[in-house]
């Protein structure tokens, strides 16, 4: 069972959390300012990297906060997490 660190509550078992998808895409501030194609990309197209990836998680059984997690999709290792505005940067050295 993975251990996920909620930025507000600390490390907790993953059964307290819900996965919320890719956190590398932002909703365009003005949806009308983007082309139809760009909007479809925003809605449907996601990278599926093997390796580090930044994801949304919600601490549903705790503080109910949404936050970012930098997780390696290959090794399952969670490198770090941070509040929604955080830049989770590069990986820690292994």
């Amino acid at each position: 069972m993975l251990l996920i660190t909620c930025p507000w509550c600390g490390p907790r078992a993953h059964i307290e959390f819900t996965y919320g998808g890719d956190a590398t895409v932002d909703r365009p501030a003005d949806p009308d300012a983007v082309s139809a194609e760009e909007w479809l990309d925003h809605i449907y197209l996601r990278d599926n990297p093997r390796g580090p990836h930044v994801e949304w998680w919600q601490h549903g059984a705790g503080c109910r906060g949404w936050f970012k997690v930098r997780r390696d999709t290959w090794t399952h290792r969670i490198h770090r997490s941070g509040p929604p505005g955080a830049d989770l940067g590069e990986d820690e050295p292994r």
Binding site: M1, L2, L3, A13, G20
Partner: protein
């Protein structure tokens, strides 16, 4: 009852003052407290305990612990029967009833053994080859194979016992209470860390229980007891005996099962308990398992691991046989000699595969006891029919590839074998650690770690007692330090007297078989896999060890190949002409040993599988004859049956009554969310498709929420209670989804908005009052505040009091009649409900359930999740008129539906033309009897009998619905092979002008 013919006069760690009676296959025997079922059977001279999986060969007890491949038994009777238990792991208790498995009609006379005689027809993968044709016969073959090959049967009755789950946290978890584990736990505990020590035996000690060494000049088990006592006196330490760590998961989560009761548990006591242990650091001290030596007929009852023989003699005082031969390729097996002689077994020969024989200390034992040593030789085969009667010994060539011509037969009834030791690396491997082949020890040992763990003692290939103790202490100190504790200087290990390992092991993966002999050399006893099977698989191209495993079933039994894995890999490597590390190992997966499903389920069985939610008015519904239906986690009143009524009678009565007078339905299950903050209105404006910014205090909107892809997420209501406070309701099943959706946008997309979301579903109860006389009822119920149409117009909301309780009244309708929703704090739920009923008595108020609620809304053409199924947009139901021309979640995506492409389905009503029901989930087709496939024009989303129209009606989504109106199609259900002619109409069946709600 029989005498314990094979019990020694004295010795063993059994309690001879406490005899226990048990039965095996119906026959009564006695044993002593401290026995396992296996040791008690051996003490009674029972050699035959099972039939093998495939060939139904006679099998005896081979090991003494978790490695046992043969002695699988069914223990207990009736609903408490447990199949496939290892007799070596079953603690004997008074009244225990055990049965052998996989035999018919009896263990001694088994019809299935004919397979052994015809075994040439059943090579590895035989069912892939033999039963291929004709394909349709496979079902027949399968039934036969499943019956012939097999393990025990599970009981069919419900389990009468309960099981528990516990979560635990510690700084250092030590798995295994052998010499290394005890020292590790002791060292870590002395540092002040929170320590857990789990061990699967009845008492701590592990290999110490059968060791000939002394610790501080005393029995080594005394040392184990002393350590146990010190650990028990430390409040930060928890020791779990009879507990098997069976899974090592991510982030140092180790899962273990504790066996709390033999047979029936004490009252209110769980039979087994699963521990989920999150450990800071882990010490794996799981010991090692002795390997068998594959020679011809090495599965005959009477062939046993040397370490197991030592355990039975030392721990249980069992005399295993009259004349024994020891066959080994390493020094450790010599430790069994002296105890066996003491127990009265005559060791007639020691056969050692090494040319030079054993090391000095082992040799000294042989000399002192005056035993015959046959070096550079092997037991080529065991001889006997029902059990071992002798062995044939031959010399082994220098390269180990052939046996000599110097055949010699030695009569004996016991063969103790030792092929070296394999560290128990299962947990390490599960933790994603990499194994490394250690050629000097001829074993796979833990290599690079992937998690915060370290292996200690025999689990990493060490064999001597003193080095295991020291290694355990070092591992315990390392773990404590890594967890942030000061382990101080290295602890002093107790003084040990033991004899030293002299000459290293000579790897011997399979004893060569001369070409004229065709007997079976078993590698995997449990799954009946022989050396020849592996060689055949390799010849047929199964070069990957993972493929080999699945093709031959090597290592796939309940023992997970504990005794067979390494030998099997080595045979494959030899056949392929490569090295063992190049072949690699198969993956070890949890569980380490079988775990009862009941233990994993814990208390979450039956009604406790999921929480049940009841409304504050639940008991009232019960008292008034309600039948309940589950809606998500909720129990809702479905209808209220009166004497003499059928279900349909009740539903029709309730629905008619709402249209005629007034009814009340419990709507406490609706999701409810309070939205507060300076920007609450702005936030909701962006969330809903509707205009919310201009919603005045005291007004309510029926509103839609979309996903960003444009599809409807939920329909609900949004009422502005105060300037900076809104009260939302959502569908019963959508509450959690909507809440998470709103939180996500508030926190991640528009964090600059001042908005606070609180789920108040549990804090507010609700009742809908519907019908032409609903206003009269409310006027009678409400203290003070007026409910006139001026004070409370359609889609208005007010705060008021009912019988002194604060309420929020929202005027809206689901039924199509004049209606109000009265919400109140949940603790007042039943109070307000009863007050409303009392106020409505003179207006003939009647409660109605979810069925009538559904009928009323279908008649009115209102939508629920049946229609809002994640594939529909507001325009499909004509709600695009609500869409504002400013941005909201999902708006941009709706544009693509307008820009041409496929036309959307339209929402229509259906009326049955033959007076019969319209099939649920039916498909709209031209001709229901046309050959398939037929063109599907649409599908039925909801249907019911309408007591108002006195017709069966339904709602549907279909292509070009407007063009079809007035025409007849068929609603056909392939599931029920049923169809009905239906006329296509508008989706609003009653009051299309919508006058009634507005009065």
């Amino acid at each position: 009852m029989t005498r314990q013919t094979h019990r020694t006069e004295r010795g063993g760690r059994i309690d001879r003052d406490t005899p226990l009676v048990f039965t095996f296959d119906g026959k009564r025997y006695t044993g002593y407290r401290g026995d396992t079922l296996a040791s008690a059977l051996l003490a009674n001279g029972v050699r035959l305990v099972g039939r093998s999986f495939k060939y139904h060969r006679r099998r005896g007890i081979f090991g003494a612990g978790a490695e046992e491949p043969n002695a699988l038994v069914r223990v207990g009777t009736g609903s408490r029967a447990e199949p496939n238990l290892k007799a070596t792991r079953v603690a004997l208790h008074d009244g225990l009833q055990a049965q052998s498995q996989n035999r018919w009609p009896s263990l001694g006379l088994d019809a299935g053994a004919l397979i052994n005689a015809a075994s040439k027809l059943f090579p590895a993968g035989f069912y892939y080859k033999t039963f291929m044709w004709p394909g349709s016969w496979w079902m027949l073959y399968e039934r036969f194979i499943r019956r012939a090959a097999g393990l025990g049967r599970a009981p069919l009755d419900p389990d009468p016992d309960h099981y528990d789950r516990r979560y635990a946290f510690c700084d250092v978890l030590v798995v295994g209470a052998g010499p290394a584990g005890l020292m590790a736990a002791l060292t870590a505990a002395r540092s002040g860390a929170r320590v857990m020590l789990v061990d699967d035996a009845l008492a701590p000690g592990g290999s110490l229980a059968a060791s000939t060494a002394t610790i501080e000049d005393a029995d080594p088990i005394a040392f184990a007891t002393r350590v146990r006592e010190e650990l028990a006196s430390n409040a930060k330490v928890r020791v779990l005996d009879r507990t098997t760590a069976f899974g090592y998961y991510d982030d140092n989560m180790v899962v273990a099962v504790e066996r709390r009761a033999d047979g029936a548990p004490a009252p209110h006591c769980a039979r087994q308990r699963v521990w989920w242990i999150r450990a800071g650091e882990v010490v794996i001290a799981t010991g090692a398992i002795e390997r068998p030596l594959p020679f011809e007929n090495n599965d005959l009852p009477g062939v046993m691991l040397a370490s197991a023989a030592r355990t039975y003699v030392f721990q249980h005082g069992v005399r295993l046989g009259e004349r024994a031969v020891l066959f080994t390729n390493n020094d450790s097996a010599y430790e069994a000699l002296e105890p066996m002689l003491d127990a009265g077994t005559n060791v007639v020969a020691v056969v050692d595969a090494r040319d030079g024989g054993p090391g000095d200390d082992a040799l000294a034992v042989v000399r002192r006891l005056g035993l015959e040593l046959v070096s550079g030789s092997v037991v080529m085969r065991a001889i006997g029919r029902t059990g071992v009667g002798g062995v044939e010994v031959r010399s082994l060539s220098a390269d180990g590839e052939a046996v000599g011509d110097d055949s010699r037969r030695i009569p004996c009834d016991l063969v103790c074998v030792s092929g070296g030791w394999s560290p128990t690396v299962h947990l390490f491997s599960q933790s994603q650690g990499r194994l490394r082949f250690d050629a000097a020890r001829a074993a796979f040992v833990p290599g690079e770690s992937a998690q915060r763990e370290r292996s200690a003692g025999a689990a990493r290939g060490l064999l001597g007692l003193s080095e295991c103790l020291a290694d355990g202490a070092a591992a315990g100190a390392d773990a404590a330090r890594a967890a942030g504790f000061d382990a101080g200087s290295e602890p002093v290990c107790p003084e040990v007297r033991e004899w030293a390992e002299g000459v290293p092991v000579r790897p011997l993966w399979a004893v060569p078989l001369p070409s004229w002999r065709h007997g079976k050399r078993f590698v995997d006893f449990q799954n009946d896999v022989t050396v020849a099977d592996i060689e055949l698989a390799a010849r047929e191209g199964y070069r990957s060890v993972e493929h080999l495993k699945r093709y031959t079933t090597l290592g796939m039994g309940t023992d997970q190949g504990r005794t067979s894995n390494v030998n099997g890999l080595a045979v494959l490597a030899a056949t392929l002409g490569t090295e063992i590390p190049a072949v690699g190992t198969t993956t070890f997966r949890p569980p380490y040993s079988p775990v009862a499903l009941g233990a994993i389920a814990g208390r979450e069985v039956g009604i406790h599988q999921a929480p049940v939610r009841r409304t504050p008015m639940h008991d009232w519904h019960v008292e008034h004859g309600a039948t309940f239906v589950t809606v998500g986690p909720w129990l809702r009143a479905q209808y209220y049956l009166r004497p003499g009524e059928s279900m349909m009678d009740a539903i029709n009565r309730e629905a008619r009554h709402v249209r005629r007078a007034v009814g009340m339905v419990d709507v406490s299950t609706l999701g409810k969310i309070e939205v507060r903050g300076r920007d609450a209105g702005e936030f909701l404006h962006r969330v809903y498709i509707n205009r919310i910014r201009n919603l005045r205090v005291g007004r309510c909107r029926y509103a839609f929420m979309l996903r960003e892809d444009g599809f409807v997420l939920d329909d609900g209501t949004c009422s502005r209670i105060r300037d900076d406070m809104y009260y939302l309701t959502t569908g019963t099943g959508h509450a959690a989804t909507v809440m998470a959706h709103l939180e996500r946008y508030a926190q991640t997309v528009w964090p600059d908005l001042d908005v606070h979301l609180t789920s108040v579903t549990d804090q507010w109860a609700g009742a809908a009052v519907a019908g032409p006389r609903s206003r009269d009822l409310l006027a009678a119920a409400c203290d003070g505040a007026g409910v006139s149409d001026e004070a409370l117009p359609f889609m208005g909301c007010i705060e008021a009091t009912v019988a002194g309780a604060p309420v929020r009244i929202i005027r809206m309708t689901f039924s199509g009649e004049r209606a109000y929703e009265v919400h109140c704090p949940a603790d007042y739920g039943i109070h307000v409900w009863e007050a409303l009923l009392a106020a409505g008595e003179s207006f003939e108020v009647m409660p109605y359930g979810t069925e009538a609620l559904g009928v009323l809304r279908i008649e009115k053409g209102h939508v629920v999740p049946n229609e809002l199924d994640g594939r529909t947009i507001p325009a499909d139901f004509g709600f695009d008129r609500m869409e504002k021309d400013e941005d909201f979640i999902g708006r941009r995506s709706l544009e693509r539906f307008r820009e041409g492409g496929r036309r959307r389905k339209t929402f229509v009503g259906l009326i049955s033309e033959n007076g019969k029901g319209i099939p649920r989930g039916g498909h709209l087709v031209w001709n229901p009897t046309a050959p398939r496939p037929v063109t599907m024009l649409g599908h039925v989303t909801s249907g019911c009998y309408s007591p108002t129209l006195e017709r069966h009606i339904a709602l549907a989504l279909m292509d070009d619905g407007e063009d079809w109106k007035g025409r007849t199609l068929y609603a056909a259900s392939p599931l029920t092979a049923d169809f009905a002619p239906v006329r296509i109409t508008d989706h609003v069946f009653i009051d299309p002008e919508n006058r009634r709600p507005k009065g």
